[in-house]
């Protein structure tokens, strides 16, 4: 198992880092890494400034800012798995070689996710720092609950990696227009996970989708860790304690771990049957 980890996970993480970063010089890479998330959060900051008279102390402001900031990980780790498969299959055309190498493909995908986690973390740290320093996000770094923060962050990332495995496997089975899967799923989950607005604003019949998603509990835990009790100002999850949220997140992660094992095997077999491991769509 350790040998497999050494052969699959570590080289994949290194390769992922190279693919993500070596297309330009380091300074430009950092600039590009932060431009998109900063712009995305600035849209929300300016929307807030355009309509709100309450200043940055309104709890909704921190809610939106932090939710959007940590959602970067969803795009990077989960949707990124879809892009890893497509990069390898269609752009670099190396997926077929990976399949004849003595490695574990799920571990390889986890390795690629690790690289995206690192680049995503860069964007998260800078966006969060900019929020605290320039945009009035009321996070007191000295009073934040760091153990809760890191424990929730780690559990959430593991869950996202399992979800990424499902998305990656699904991507492998699609011949035409596979590029949209990662983006489509991330965009849909953005809407239903309460990342930028409380779930209670959704129509009642859509709210159960949000409550079934791990990101809902994960983002709530991260907000509570950084903001303290003020984070629980919205009714959607106010009735849950931190321990309950953690248990829910842990339970959903276990479900996704099991689901991803079966789903990836199924998708992989399907891709082999359809001859899609080395397919090139030219899109």
């Amino acid at each position: 198992m350790l040998a497999m980890l050494r052969r699959s996970f570590l080289p994949a993480a290194w390769l992922g880092w190279q693919v993500e970063s070596n297309w330009t010089d380091p300074l430009l890479f950092i600039g590009f890494s932060i431009l998109k998330p900063i712009a995305s959060v600035l849209i929300l900051v300016f929307m807030y400034k355009a309509v709100s008279q309450a200043g940055t102390n309104d709890p909704i402001y921190a809610y939106i800012y932090l939710g959007n900031t940590f959602y970067i990980y969803v795009g990077a780790v989960m949707a990124g798995a879809s892009y890893s498969i497509l990069d390898d299959r269609e752009r670099y055309r190396t997926l077929k070689y990976l399949y004849i190498a003595p490695i574990s493909i799920p571990l390889y995908l986890f390795g690629r996710a690790m690289a995206r986690f690192i680049t995503g973390s860069l964007a998260v740290v800078i966006t969060l720092g900019a929020g605290v320093l320039f945009f009035g996000v009321p996070v007191d770094l000295a009073r934040a609950n760091w153990p809760l923060f890191f424990a929730a962050l780690a559990l959430g990332i593991v869950c996202l990696a399992f979800m990424g495995l499902i998305i990656g496997g699904w991507t492998m089975t699609i011949r035409n227009e596979p590029w949209f899967i990662g983006d489509g799923v991330a965009a849909a989950l953005y809407l239903f996970s309460g990342a930028i607005f409380p779930l209670t604003l959704l129509p009642a019949w859509l709210q159960p989708i949000g409550f079934a998603l791990p990101m809902t509990y994960w983002l709530e835990l991260l907000r509570r860790a950084l903001l303290g009790p003020g984070a629980a100002a919205f009714p959607s999850l106010a009735g849950f304690s931190n321990g309950q949220l953690f248990a829910l997140l842990g339970g959903i992660t276990l479900v996704f771990a099991a689901l991803s094992t079966f789903a990836f095997r199924y998708f992989e077999r399907r891709a082999r049957e359809l001859g899609l491991i080395d397919a090139v769509s030219n899109f």
Binding site: F32, G184, A187
Partner: protein
Amino acid sequence: MAPTLPRDPLTPLTRPPDTGARLFVRTVIARAYPRVIGQQREKAWIFFETFLPFLAMVGYVFVYRAMRAPEDYIGFVVMGGAMTAFWMNVMWSMSAQLYWEKETGNLALYIMAPNSLTAVLLGMALGGLFATILRALVILVLGAWLFSIPFAVSSFAQLFAVFGLTMVALYGLGMLLASLFLLFGREAWQVVTTLQEPIYFVSGFYFPVRSFGFALSLVVSLLPLTLGLDAMRQLVFKSGPTLGFLPVSTEIWLLVGLCVLFLAAAKIWLDKMERKAVEEGTLTDRRR
């Protein structure tokens, strides 16, 4: 009566090859054709190009609801959401197109053929514009219906003029960017992906652009969608004029200026790229 013999395939066609304006127009039509017809055949493409901007738009609508914003702001978001379809089309299907053609080996054929590269890009723009208008309309109609947007159009003539000028300037910018993207290698993908949100931000897709203050708003008005969106919002919503950046008539004249600027720049730069392709012989090399 003598039997009709099949034509000898080696005998040249009697009709002379197209040249000049006729070749230009036929090239435009030929390149627009796959954009209009081909794209409609890709059902997944249609779905996702409509669905993704729609989802983002719905997200921002709920953000304004969470902030208890006035209803016209919801309308601003719906209109901005519809216009994102055009920006996505310009970036992915115009700006990055010649780069993709280089990757797939078609660019060399474009440059070798007797037609003008400008005609190829113009066809791409017209075809893309037509296909995108349909998607933007779906987003707009669905958004307006779902969120009961209160439209109050003050001048249809000005509205059509602003939309038309915005599209000409925007696709002119797309043509210019397409030639610039030829200079890129692997970073083209990164640039297109990375520029998406910053453009949504500086163009004020989801909030009135005058929130930037006068000086910055003027700078970002170099992007056609900034002025176009601002003018359209002023013409379509009751509170639009009070939240607008400049008077609509001024914005129309500025858009005319942008049309001339981007179309001329695109023509000059494309000619330069074609010359470079012939002189250096490296522009079509996909390893660069």
